[in-house]
């Protein structure tokens, strides 16, 4: 996930820094050249002043400042010189600017000849001192740019944060919405750029609400409407059984068909009952271990009929959840294990605490689930082919695991399908958050 804020702050600051610093560098170079020219003009002025010195009296010991020397020559005779100046001429007898090395330093010099007095004036200045002086002056103007960068960074950060505030507010508003809250997003005084986003989101939420409502109503109505005729059908079936004998083949097929239809309707009803809004109302503390014990007790006869060995291990495990929904989840997992484990097979059920999770595992010694099927088995009406035998022969409607996944999601639990610890078979693990 890339951050818009970080992108804006970093790229604006980098661009500003780059241009400011390159400009400062350019400014430094041109200012240094300007300072050099200024020092040269100063050297010229000094030469003009020195030229007017009256050399008739004592001129020994005159100093023009730190690092500046002069000499006045007339016909190869040194008329006057500043203190520290060597005895020989410090520059060539040639008018203009030049560089010279002596006394372990490099000097910038200026020579001037006065035809009326026939005098040569030579003025030199140490280049290192000139450079340091110039650099100190120039750096005074560069320093504020450097010191200003952190401040500019802070300002950019604040401005970008201010600009992104409407987006932040919208994202907080959306985050606050509960899973079942399908009311439109109310956002007053939003930014013009976000209006379309809010409009589209609200229209999407509205359409979603309508679709969900229609689906909910359909499954509820269908299930309720079908339950009554099924009950009537079962009574008629019972009467028919008494009349023609319950071991009649057609009668048995009819009975299993009616039972399958009833099962499907019950599953559709549980899917409806476990909607987010109902879940929020019914959520309370549940001991998962006890609930599993009760479900096993209820379904024990089915395991006994198939001579399956069922083991339960674990201890009290408190979670937040909906009692009825959890009963459906456990009973679906147990029924699946019962159906897919062969006669005399083993089923291991455990409720244990692993790290900060409460894990409900149902492992069986059945044929197992192929890896490519493991994700699809949670799809509605999907039924995998197991161990080469058509799964269609098994009673069921392909909704059981959909309901398991749905209930787990409501409880913010994760369902994992793995191979079991038996030689073959699968293990369903539902990882619930432990109640704090």
């Amino acid at each position: 996930m890339r951050s818009i804020r970080l992108f804006l702050v970093a790229s604006i600051l980098a661009t500003l820094t780059l241009f400011n610093f390159v400009a400062a560098l350019q400014g430094y170079q041109s200012s240094m050249e300007e300072a050099e020219a200024l020092f040269d003009r100063q050297l010229e002025d000094l030469a003009a002043i020195v030229l007017n010195i009256d050399v008739s009296g004592e001129v020994e010991g005159i100093s023009l400042g730190n690092g500046i020397l002069f000499q006045i020559w007339q016909s190869s005779e040194l008329l006057a010189a500043s203190s520290g100046s060597p005895a020989e001429s410090i520059l060539e007898f040639e008018e203009g600017f030049s560089f010279v090395n002596f006394d372990s330093y490099r000097w910038r010099g200026f020579t001037q000849f006065n035809p009326s007095s026939q005098r040569w004036v030579m003025v030199v200045e140490r280049t290192d001192l000139r450079f340091i002086l110039a650099e100190n002056v120039v750096l005074e103007s560069v320093l504020p740019i450097l010191l200003g960068i952190p401040l500019v960074g802070l300002l950019i950060w604040s401005i970008v944060s201010l600009g992104l505030r409407p987006l932040d507010k919208l994202s907080t508003e959306l985050k606050k919405k509960q899973a079942h809250d399908l009311s439109p997003v109310v956002y007053e005084n939003s930014a013009r750029e976000l209006e379309q986003v809010i409009q589209s989101t609200n229209s999407f939420i509205l359409r979603l609400d309508e679709v969900l409502e229609r689906e909910k109503r359909f499954s509820a109505d269908a299930a309720h409407e079908l339950r009554t005729p099924i009950s009537a059908l079962k009574i008629q079936l019972h009467n028919l059984g008494e009349e023609i004998g319950s071991d009649h083949e057609s009668f048995q097929q009819l009975q299993s068909g009616v039972e399958r239809m009833q099962h499907l309707i019950e599953q559709l009803l549980s899917l409806y009952r476990t909607t987010p809004e109902k879940f929020a109302q019914n959520c309370h503390q549940v001991d998962l271990y006890q609930l599993v014990q009760e479900q096993i007790a209820q379904l024990y006869s089915s395991f006994e009929n198939r001579n399956q060995i069922l083991e339960l291990s674990g201890d009290e495990a408190l979670i937040e959840g909906d009692d009825f929904a959890l009963q459906t989840l456990v009973s679906n997992l147990l029924s699946n294990a019962n159906k897919y484990t062969p006669e005399g097979g083993k089923i291991l059920v455990s409720v244990c605490e692993i790290d900060s999770d409460i894990v409900l595992s149902v492992e069986d010694s059945g044929p197992g689930i192929a890896e490519e099927d493991r994700l699809r088995i949670f799809d509605r009406f999907y039924r995998s082919d197991l161990g080469g035998n058509s799964n269609r022969e098994m009673p069921g409607c392909g909704l059981g695991l959909t309901i398991v996944a749905h209930i787990a999601e409501l409880h913010q639990a994760r369902v994992v399908v793995e191979g079991s610890n038996f030689e073959s078979g699968s293990a369903f693990r539902v990882k619930f958050r432990k109640k704090k």
Partner: protein, 276 residues
Amino acid sequence: MFINSVILLLQEILEAALLISVLLVITNLFHDIWGRSFVLRKTWIFYALILGCAGAWLYALVTPTVSEWFDYVGQEVVNSLIHLVSLGFLILLSWVAPSNYFSDKTSQRAQLVIASMVVIVLLALVREGSEILLYLGGVTSQSENVVPVLSGAVIGAGIGLSCGVILYYGLTSLSHTWAFRVCLLLLAFVCGNIASQIVMLLTQADWLPYTAIAWDTAGLLPENSITGRLLYALIGYEATPSILQAVCYGLAMLIIIFGPLFRLAWPGILAKNVEQ
């Protein structure tokens, strides 16, 4: 003093910043392309930065001793060794990272890629950082140098880092295919540059023979101009390389160009996987 420290810091920081930017963009690309099966966390950069800074400081501390090794060419030899290890890991990255990325061993491969990136950045920081520390430590011992040297250092580092950030965001704004292509081309240049530096250092240490100058473009584009330094950091530009340097530069580039990662970036599987 000011301009010297601008140039030194600019060159060293720019070199490291460009390498880090390219590797970060490659991390993003791996993440986006093979996100589910090839999990790379960007936090590797923090480990690399911390370790690299510590390493640079340590190396700067021992440099006086190291430089006395091998008849006073220790620094050249150790620096070339550091370069050699970097080059090895860059080659490892380009040859090992992409193969079997859909296989079961992707997590180990991702770890290998991250480890290679950490080592490459760590060594780049040790190399460049120690030079910066030695320079700053030396010149700021005189109090009158402190302000010009430090201001120059801030300007040089600022320009170098800004270029790195701009390159990073510039590359991330490209399409995946083109970002990958440019990154790998830059990585090939980085390898060429490192190989050429190894030769230069070992020649300086007299461990390799001097060879004639391959070409001279000093008149056309001087090495110490701003453009020259920028090109040095970006593609390892040298105005007067020796023949051996040029040959090794070309060979190192070829190793990357013929590596599977490079072939993946230029037509091939990527185009099919990435264009969404």
